[in-house]
């Protein structure tokens, strides 16, 4: 049996991850329609929702100024579009199953988690690109950033962590369901509660008690609150930590599922 030193093993894993990441980025770039819709979707949503919610902004209790609704909605659009784009990770995982690539990877001398990690890096890159484009659109609509440079950094960390958790969640769904069309529908079922049981579109205080309870473990709810706080300059360290813990908690839970399934399904008798 061959043995390798930890440094050689680390270098090999690094090479494999780099190869898989380049493959994912290259594949994403070669589907221009997906690229275009994925990157511009949050911009379109921001324009649409800022018009729809104009009446809310005009109501009592909302700060004055027509552009404040844009400030209020932009962090929500960032969080929501990250969830929606996460389904891409699920679909691409399912496509790897249908075209036999999943089995080919599984039969290679490679850690089973690496394709998922590469998908996560891919999602993180596209999340940042979407955020940049959304930022440009938001500024054009009157967006202003009230936080500090640290707030901006913290917001990026929160957003990327949320993207990683969503990539892992939808990647697991893709790996389990193995059909892109089914994954898209299942993704909708998962996406809806994540998006709507949060303060993205309405204050949590106005929701029924059970929804408020669910929001306490919803990483999208925590991410929306933290992002909004960082944009307004009102976020506390607790807001940021809660958002990171919720996203990392979901990531750990999702990553643990395949490991547990493997352990349960190892009835090797002999």
């Amino acid at each position: 049996m061959t043995t390798t030193t930890p440094s050689i093993e680390r270098r090999r894993i690094g090479d494999q991850l780099a190869a898989l990441t380049v493959r994912n980025l290259r594949t994403s770039a070669r589907v221009p329609q997906l690229l275009m819709f994925s990157l511009t979707m949050p911009m379109a949503m921001l324009v649409l929702f800022s018009q729809v919610f104009r009446s809310v902004a005009a109501g009592p209790g909302f700060p004055a100024g027509t552009s404040y609704i844009v400030v209020f909605l932009t962090p929500a659009m960032l969080a929501v579009s990250t969830v929606m784009a996460g389904t891409n990770a699920g679909v691409s995982a399912a496509i790897d199953h249908t075209n036999g690539l999943h089995d080919r990877f599984a039969a290679l001398p490679m850690r089973a988690a690496l394709p998922g990690v590469a998908r996560t890096i891919n999602e993180a890159v596209f999340t940042l690109a979407r955020a940049a484009l959304l930022g440009i659109a938001a500024v054009a609509l009157g967006f202003e950033f009230y936080g500090t440079a640290m707030d901006a950094v913290a917001a990026v960390v929160v957003l990327v962590t949320l993207a990683a958790a969503m990539s892992a969640l939808f990647g697991l769904i893709g790996d389990r369901l193995r059909r892109p069309d089914v994954v898209q529908f299942a993704g909708m079922m998962v996406m809806m509660p994540l998006m709507f049981i949060s303060s993205a579109f309405a204050p949590l205080e106005t929701m029924p008690g059970w929804m408020q309870a669910m929001a306490t473990v919803n990483p999208v709810a925590h991410a929306t609150d933290a992002l909004r706080g960082h944009v307004l300059g009102t976020a506390t360290a607790g807001d940021t930590v809660a958002a990171l813990v919720a996203a990392i908690g979901l990531w750990v839970a999702v990553t643990a599922v395949p490991v547990l399934i493997r352990l349960i399904r190892s009835p090797r008798v002999r």
Binding site: M1, T2, R12, D15, Q16, A18, A19, L20, R23, R26, T27, R30, V31, N99, G100, L101, D103, R104, F105, A106, A107, L108, P109, M110, R265, S266, P267, R268, V269, R270
Partner: protein, 308 residues
């Protein structure tokens, strides 16, 4: 004699309450081709998936070059190449990019590009090198898939129905590649539904039926299971009813019928032809051949479990 490259002992694989493999034993010697035959659902693909570490044995032991497929899975994967039933390619990457990707995942690093080019040369894939896999025909993708399975120069190669969808020329090309590989010491385990392919490539054959070994041996040994000679004759279709024997098979094509019957030996075949002649049967074409693997397969389908 060196240890076998592939050893399977008492292999059982269960999917829920169904036993896909139910006590399979087999071996493949180094540098030989083992053909695995069987009807749909016989357990061929489950066997290949178990041998390639994709499915864990429920019971039993599987070793590749002395390494256990469960305990030493990563080491096993360094030694094997796999072509599955579906071309495992990224359809948005070109043939060269697919080969390079697998090369880097196999650990080739800087030599991945050179090996990709070498495989493109060896398998004559130049016209696909810069085209995305998704734009190619199924047969072309199968050829690239075979090239991908050779990245890293595996010492044991698993081919699961590799020529399905290939035209005769491409199929013959793949057979030549398998010949070259075994001549260079690579062990090949091949599943196929084309008996001609197993006859052409396999040194030994295992016939699976319902997850069990129904028969095993060299192609010649298996043909002896049927025994004797196969006499095939073309006669007027209108004279089919006049035959004094029931043919093993007959095919009517217009006013002609092609009938086949198994007889003990060449002497019996001659006697049967004389008998047909005396009966006034007009024979327009006549072949006396040894049984093919098709005959073995048909025979085993009627007598399962009799030749293990």
């Amino acid at each position: 004699m060196s240890a076998p490259a592939v050893v399977v002992e008492d292999l059982h694989v269960a999917y829920g309450k169904t036993w896909a493999l139910d006590g399979v034993d087999l071996e493949a010697a180094i540098g030989t081709t083992l053909g695995v035959l069987g009807h749909n659902g016989a357990g061929k693909t489950t066997l290949i998936r178990t041998l390639t570490t994709l499915v864990r044995p429920t019971i039993g032991r599987v070793q590749i070059e002395g390494l256990d497929v469960v305990g030493d899975a990563i080491a096993v994967r360094r030694r094997i190449g796999v072509t599955g039933q579906y071309a495992g390619l990224d359809e948005f990457l070109t043939a060269r990019e697919n080969l390079e990707l697998i090369g880097r995942l196999t650990g080739l690093r800087r030599t991945a590009r050179a090996q990709a080019d070498a495989l493109i040369d060896r398998l004559g894939l130049h016209e696909y090198a810069t085209r995305r896999a998704g734009e190619l025909s199924g047969g072309s993708r199968r050829r690239i898939d075979l090239a991908v399975s050779l990245v890293g120069s595996p010492s044991v190669l698993f081919l699961d129905e590799p020529t399905t969808g290939l035209d005769p020329l491409a199929r013959a090309g793949l057979w030549d590649v398998v010949d070259e590989l075994t001549a260079a010491g690579t062990t090949v385990v091949l599943t196929t539904q084309y008996l001609e392919e197993a006859d052409r490539l396999a040194d030994h054959i295992v016939v699976l039926s319902r997850g069990r070994v129904a028969a095993r041996g060299t192609p010649t040994q298996l043909k002896r299971i049927v025994g004797g000679k196969v006499l095939s004759a073309t006669i007027p279709a209108g004279q089919l009813a006049d035959l004094r024997f029931i043919p093993d098979a007959n095919r009517v094509d217009g006013d002609r019928a092609r009938v086949s019957v198994t007889v003990d030996d060449a002497t019996a075949a001659t006697a049967l032809v004389s008998d047909l002649h005396r009966s006034g049967i007009e024979i327009t074409d006549l072949d006396v051949t040894s049984p093919s693997l098709d005959d073995v397969f048909t025979h085993l389908a009627h007598t399962p479990g009799a030749h293990r």
